[in-house]
Symmetry: C2
Subunit: 421 residues, 2 copies
Amino acid sequence: MIALSQMGLNAREAAYRLGTVSTDQKNAFLFRLAELLEEQIPAILKANAADIEDAQGVLSPAMIDRLTLTDGRIRAIAQDVRNVAGLPDPVGEVFDEFENPAGLHVYKKRVPIGVAAVIYESRPNVTIDSACLMIKSGNAAILRGGKEAIRTNLALLAPVTAALRAADLPQEAIQFVDSPDRVLMSKLLQMDDWIDLLIPRGGAGLHEFCRKNSRIPVITGGIGICHLFVDQSADLEKSLPVIRNAKVQRPTVCNAMETLLVHRAVATEFLPKVCAALSPEGVAFKADERAFAILSAADLPGVRVEEAIEGDFDTEWLALILGLRVVDDLSQAIAHIRAHGTLHSDGILTEDQENAKRFVSAVNSACVYVNASTRFTDGAQLGLGAEIAVSTQPLHARGPMALRELTTYQWVIQGDYHSRV
Amino acid sequence: MIALSQMGLNAREAAYRLGTVSTDQKNAFLFRLAELLEEQIPAILKANAADIEDAQGVLSPAMIDRLTLTDGRIRAIAQDVRNVAGLPDPVGEVFDEFENPAGLHVYKKRVPIGVAAVIYESRPNVTIDSACLMIKSGNAAILRGGKEAIRTNLALLAPVTAALRAADLPQEAIQFVDSPDRVLMSKLLQMDDWIDLLIPRGGAGLHEFCRKNSRIPVITGGIGICHLFVDQSADLEKSLPVIRNAKVQRPTVCNAMETLLVHRAVATEFLPKVCAALSPEGVAFKADERAFAILSAADLPGVRVEEAIEGDFDTEWLALILGLRVVDDLSQAIAHIRAHGTLHSDGILTEDQENAKRFVSAVNSACVYVNASTRFTDGAQLGLGAEIAVSTQPLHARGPMALRELTTYQWVIQGDYHSRV
């Protein structure tokens, strides 16, 4: 492998060229990549099988599942690549145009950020996702995948490099750190001279490590202790499927709900219904004192409910476990979310427009919902067409990040030989 | 002084309250602050005199000049405060509104960033600038001024605190680290749990220190090796005053020009004119080989020109020194700016629209000019009404940052009990 600093230099050079290439040229890369991925399915599956074999008994079944590719999965990835080709190119977009007091014509123009590093674990699809979104947004990238997926990632990288070449784009636009050495990762985090943006994709540990050790600005996110609050005025019948969706549809992801807050005025009626509906799906419950009392008094055969202990409401379960808490009113719901939330996705179920407004104004999460499941926090679901990360930090971009969020802007100022007075 | 961690907690609490206060309440603070500043002019001048006395013989005359307040200067600061009250409040602004494929009503809403830290040197007006812009944009701030201005800063902080109280805003919205202990500064840079954004205002050394030592995202900027390129097609007569303005009007600031690039086709005619025009203003010249040969051949009594040496084109002079270089063409001009610029402000003087377009497309500086002085890179000059910093880094905001750049956004998603399919 070439030295990291050389990779940084190469990436900067590639980014400079990428900044001015046409949309057509970037799309040519994407279409060619999709073709090559489909052509090389046998080679990719072979490499993946070798990674999976090594992982048996070492990684958890969930991790092995994330690592596993199939013919269908690779075809779906190729289709995602074609979808990115169909998305509008943000680079060059002009906005905030005005004439300033001195008569200058001023506007902002979207430009690529430059060089990004993506550090990720297990899921090899991130290799292709990142390559596509970075190239389409005009950025170069250095990728660092986990060692458990190293053969798969290299097999996926081959068509990326070939497609860059075919589209007459610099091969160094997408580079891969193919050594599992963790010292290299630490070194990468110090390369702020060459890398403008760091995107970790993985668990809380990886995010924390990057935030504490990186000189490069980090997009932290992906940690979701998400809440729904059932207001007194909520349509309880309509609320139930939303709650089920938020908890059960895919419990292992960051936008799944971890805690349900219920207004005390409807708690006695509603909490047993929630448990009766979610229990057959395999959900177990951690209830606060009041919720536990209500559920204990109800006759709920087969429902697994225990009293919540210290820390339960601060845990991202990523599993079929749901925290339940009875709150006195909207203010207490907001206070709970403020104390225990992660600024990811939180919602209110209500028929009261004033309460919806107060909730939206007081809850400072990246995504705030009124009468919808938190599961919509996703670039494709919301309508951005793609997603590189979900940001829960306040700077640059919040929530789902797609192509536009991988750009910045520059000011263009046009005059007629203007001097400042 | 209270412990830094307590200041962080207080700031977070204050920011939470500030996020939801009305524009009127924030403006009430600003108007009261302007009044109090004018009322307390004698006390502020007294404190300032004490700081200046201590600085005699210790600081350079330029630094003492930056430190010095006068009756007129304080009245001007008070007027600036009233101007901020007149600017639109960015908080709550709705943008990027759409209906997503699932039928959800989706929009972004501008919200404050949270808590900012401002670290600055000498200039005490930053205390008031920061307080105004932070409060108007709904953010809490922790300020850390230099020890040379400590009495002045505390005298300026008294009316800030009183005005916050008068407007029924939390006093902890603006806190000041009143100890010169540098260990505290290092500690402040680690407080990423409480502080969302760090804005250094000072020289290159301060920016570098913050970038290398901060866990908080840093807005770096303010370092300007700015260029103007005189294209072959430029109207040379009209170009001359723009060049003078960019170099001479205020040479000590970051948006002043450091290097003039001249197309070889017009160099022999134009370079002597540049030197003849700027020399009486006290400008000395560092010329590359070709420029030096041209100027040596011309008869230019009293003009101070010497051959540029290694590193000259990489120096931010902040003084009446101008680098001169003859370039073969637009491409060489762009390559020079890429090699020696700081991504701050660079411009082309040209009558050729194609060349203007190529320059704007290839030069990736925060501000790119066509036929105008680089001195317009300033919030007030461009028309933003104010300025907290000039960012030359790619994330979050670039170029002059004012109120809107001190906000972020959140997604609001409204449904009718929608679940994800």
